[in-house]
Symmetry: C2
Subunit: 218 residues, 2 copies
């Protein structure tokens, strides 16, 4: 197909398509004459991935570059999520402050194995320090339950990956899943907070002039 058709079928402007080609995240079309290129289904799929990462999960163009480079090179299965993790920096990952030894200990107490060397350990530790600095240190129970929930989510991520037999699908689910999984979880956490808040501290019932009636009716 021509670039105009590629644009129409993906909803991505021609200028953006050319930008993605210049940035190296989308392969150029096959040249079939001066100023004429043709594009195929692989271009449609790649454009959907790029837009999904940028619009759906707020990944930067630099992050997209690293993710698609990893996809194109192939990703070892045990580190499939790690590649996408490196491409999508965590909030707080560029903080210049060293975590306290105490907070590092507390995080290490709830993780195991290879996870104990993960670059996200000091990020979690610094966040614990911040709670303490504002005068609200968190209990061990809080942290342990966060770790329990994180393990559930990580197992769900890998189960989803293992449902795919194709290496490209596995790499793609890891790449998209790392960034978009955060969005899904954060949304569900906020929804669950609303549900839990209402359960523990029910709002008073709305005033009604016929409350005694309603108890006897129906």
């Amino acid at each position: 197909m021509r670039i105009s058709e590629l644009s129409r079928s993906t909803g991505v402007s021609i200028a953006s398509i050319k930008y993605y080609i210049r940035e190296g995240v989308l392969a150029p079309g096959e040249s079939d004459g001066p100023n004429r290129s043709s594009y195929g289904d692989a271009h449609v799929a790649r454009l959907r991935l790029i837009r999904g990462l940028i619009e759906g999960a707020g990944v930067s163009i630099a992050g997209v570059k690293r993710i698609v480079a990893a996809l194109d090179e192939g990703i070892p299965l045990n580190d499939s999520f790690g590649v996408a993790q490196a491409a999508v920096p965590l909030a707080g990952s560029d903080a210049p402050v060293e975590p306290s030894p105490d907070a590092m200990e507390r995080v290490l107490a709830v993780v195991e194995g290879i996870g104990r060397h993960h670059p996200a350990i000091p990020i979690a530790a610094r966040a614990l320090d911040t709670f303490a600095v504002v005068g609200e240190p968190l209990s061990e129970a809080w942290l342990a339950r966060y770790a329990e929930a994180a393990a559930i989510v990580a197992r769900a991520d890998f189960d989803e990956l293992e449902q795919r037999s194709d290496a490209v699908d596995q790499a793609r689910i890891a790449a998209v899943g790392t960034a978009l999984g955060d969005v899904v979880f954060q949304s569900l956490r906020r929804i669950a907070q609303a549900t839990e808040g209402e359960r523990r501290f029910p709002s008073p019932p709305a005033p009604s002039s016929s409350s005694s009636d309603s108890e006897t009716s129906s």
Copy 2:
């Protein structure tokens, strides 16, 4: 104390302190003469909260304004996390795209009660749509386990809040916890992915010239 001492004891520059006062997130010092103001412990505590939100959780100054306004006004307990949620927009919350009815249904299937009207529902639904658009639709089991993990985290958040008896502490843990809890969870999720990846797809053991020795030694 003088502003210079406030700066020293919090590590926040005098220029930043004056900026926070201008922005209305920090109360001015008590004037005790022309160009002389004195600051107290409440200023130290507030500055720590401001810096914790900005540096620890990437909250914008606009978000800080909304959080401290809520703290100063008092927050109803059932919505204590909701106020901070509104101040800290989710990634993907400004996407212009409508979620598909199918994705909305799927999200609504895993949440209950007041959560079914939460503004984060369409954000989660749009993220599910993005997975589908890139050709990797997610299973119901994946979403159900994310919801299960979100409920664990929300209960941990409220348990932590209920350990505080003071209303200011409760409001503060909700404000800081919404933004920083995301950072802690995302870090732990990435760590858990590394642990789970290694468990399911163990790396081949590093080559060793003395592997037979090491089995007999020690």
